[in-house]
């Protein structure tokens, strides 16, 4: 059984539903909009069992072979927000979220993607270091509360950008001379600065073993927010070595589905900036015809067999590895 958990009419959930249906499976949707009519029982010890009952389905958790999960914060659902934090509805919605989230971490089924695996994106420099360790060039990066350190870094690289350190979405912007007046605010909290890498953006979607890439033709510093600049996406093939590196990185981050942001410099060097653990692949699919949704569907259909590459509990490192990098 393939389960989809999230907002039933959300674009990505609908796209995955459609793609899974097209290859002959009947996915079951646990629609968060129906959370107040959803019962969950979770039984955990060495194994996990239980059920989810929605208005239309009764799901034995042991029957699930694969799940695509894209949960929203249930507290922001209109019915829950209206009911308020002291209501039974609020408590129930949180409990259902917690129970299904807990199941998704424990089940041997394939989960695209486990919530714990998505966490590396919560700290960009932390994730960048993982990316570097897996063979990609990464931009020189400074986190500082010190104006003098920014000046040195700026002088070293000529052009630098700044962006949020956490997973909070921010527009990547080049640092301009007139912003020196704002340096006094640096002392409130470390700010992330990066060497500006010129080149052409590429987005690689890794789906299991498959890699779907496109190049982004745009003059914008951050093509997600082009501000008047044009953006064109073209499907392309990455060099085999880079494809392999993308696969290895996705496995290392325990992400069966990953959106990897790359840039190819004029000198032919590939830089990696970030791995998006919940990529909005429909945007790239719509502009390039890359069959990413179909690949996600095939991956889900492979289910538990594919899950072996992305186990629920990662092997614990040794204590020695814990205390020495």
């Amino acid at each position: 059984m393939i389960v989809l958990w999230g907002i039933g009419n959300e674009q990505l959930l609908k796209a995955v539903h459609e793609a899974v249906t097209e290859i002959g499976h009947t996915p079951v949707v646990i629609d968060q909009r129906e959370v107040l009519c959803t019962d969950v029982q979770l039984i955990c010890a060495a194994e996990v069992a239980g059920y989810v009952r929605t208005p239309t389905h009764s799901i034995n958790l042991c029957d699930i072979t694969a799940a695509y999960i894209r949960p929203y914060d249930a507290r922001r659902l209109p019915a829950i927000e209206r009911a308020g934090p002291r209501s039974a509805a609020w408590r129930h919605a949180l409990a259902v979220d917690e129970a299904i989230s807990a199941w998704s971490e424990l089940t041997p089924a394939l989960v695209v993607n486990r919530l714990s695996a998505m966490m590396s994106n919560g700290s960009k420099p932390y994730q960048l270091e993982l990316i570097r360790r897996h063979g990609f060039s990464v931009p020189d990066t400074l986190l500082t509360t010190d104006a003098a350190a920014v000046e040195e870094f700026w002088a070293r690289h000529g052009e630098i950008i700044y962006k949020s350190t956490s997973g909070t979405r921010s527009i990547v912007a080049r640092l301009r001379p007139e912003q020196r007046a704002d340096f006094v605010r640096l002392r409130h909290c470390p700010v992330q600065f990066q060497q500006c890498i010129n080149g052409r953006d590429h987005r690689a979607h890794v789906v299991g073993d498959e890699v779907y890439a496109c190049e982004v033709i745009s003059d914008a510093t951050d093509y997600r927010y082009p501000v008047g600049a044009s953006v064109e996406l073209r499907a392309c093939r990455l060099p085999h070595e880079i494809e392999d590196r993308c696969r290895t990185l996705a496995v290392a981050l325990r992400l069966p589905l990953a959106g990897i942001d790359l840039r190819l410099t004029p000198a032919g060097e590939w830089y990696c900036f970030e791995v998006n653990p919940s990529p909005a692949f429909t945007y790239f699919e719509a502009h390039t015809d890359l069959p990413i949704g179909a690949a996600v569907a095939r991956l889900l259909a492979a289910g538990a067999h594919a899950a072996q590459s992305w186990p629920a509990l990662s092997a614990a490192p040794t204590h020695a590895a814990q205390v020495s990098a």
Binding site: T145, G167, L313
Partner: protein
């Protein structure tokens, strides 16, 4: 020097720092993250500068770090404008995760993406790991019936220290607390399986075969023996 990352109100951290022994121990709070002087360049960790207790400290002078703060909470940021606190707390937590991960010295515990004190797993995941490690567990059952009037969250059902009969504290290869040797060995095995060097483990009794109840990745280290073991671990003198 050793550094303890802690809440401004953490009395256990302050007591630990006061008994520093041969090592200077500084307490780093969220207030230190709002001081000029931090420098962390990913490609040059040896050039790093930190701020500890309001003082700039070159990164290489930091010999060990004990983390007692799972995240930077908004409530710790009274010095930040209220509308900015949530964002700043999230930025500071993300920064500390990257900085702690870059350190070459002992760090108790090594941070995980969702918690600076180590794995932030829900109780069911700890139960599963405990069961697979050979500890006795009682199945955890959570029922969420539609519009149940009673709170039904994992935290409500989670056994914790208040319900524990026996608390064992694992520090590196040592276990502190009064219990059967078998239970102590199980506590160490659980910490090892979880990849943490510092762990409080709760049981419903002290005898062999007692049932596992829960954990704490930020246990009480105020006892002199436990404190000494933590300092030894930070100094690299104890396998951890």
């Amino acid at each position: 020097m050793f550094v303890v990352i802690a809440s401004q109100r953490d009395e256990i951290a302050q007591a630990f720092a006061a008994r520093g022994g041969a090592h200077e121990i500084g307490i780093m709070t969220s207030r230190d993250l709002s001081c000029a002087g931090w420098r962390h360049r990913l490609s040059a960790p040896h050039e790093a500068m930190a701020v500890v207790g309001g003082r700039s400290v070159p990164g290489p002078e930091i010999e060990g770090v004990l983390t007692r703060l799972p995240y930077v909470w908004e409530s710790e940021l009274a010095h930040i404008a209220e509308r900015e606190r949530a964002y700043v707390a999230s930025e500071m937590s993300a920064f500390l995760l990257a900085w702690l991960t870059s350190l070459r010295c002992p760090v108790l515990n090594r941070p995980a993406p969702a918690s600076l004190t180590g794995p932030s797993w829900r109780l069911p995941k700890w139960l599963q790991l405990a069961a697979r490690t050979g500890l006795a567990v009682r199945p955890f059952i959570q029922d969420c019936h539609a519009l149940n009037e009673q709170p039904s969250t994992l935290s409500r059902h989670a056994p914790d220290e208040a319900h524990a009969v026996t608390t064992l504290t694992v520090v590196g290869g040592h276990t502190f607390g009064v219990a059967a040797d078998e239970l102590k060995a199980q506590a160490r095995a659980l910490a090892h399986a979880a990849g943490v060097a510092l762990l409080g483990v709760y049981f419903d009794g002290a005898g062999a075969g007692a049932t596992f109840l829960g954990i704490n990745t930020c246990p009480d280290i105020s006892g002199p023996e436990i404190g000494a073991a933590v300092r030894a671990c930070l100094a690299g003198g104890v396998p951890c």
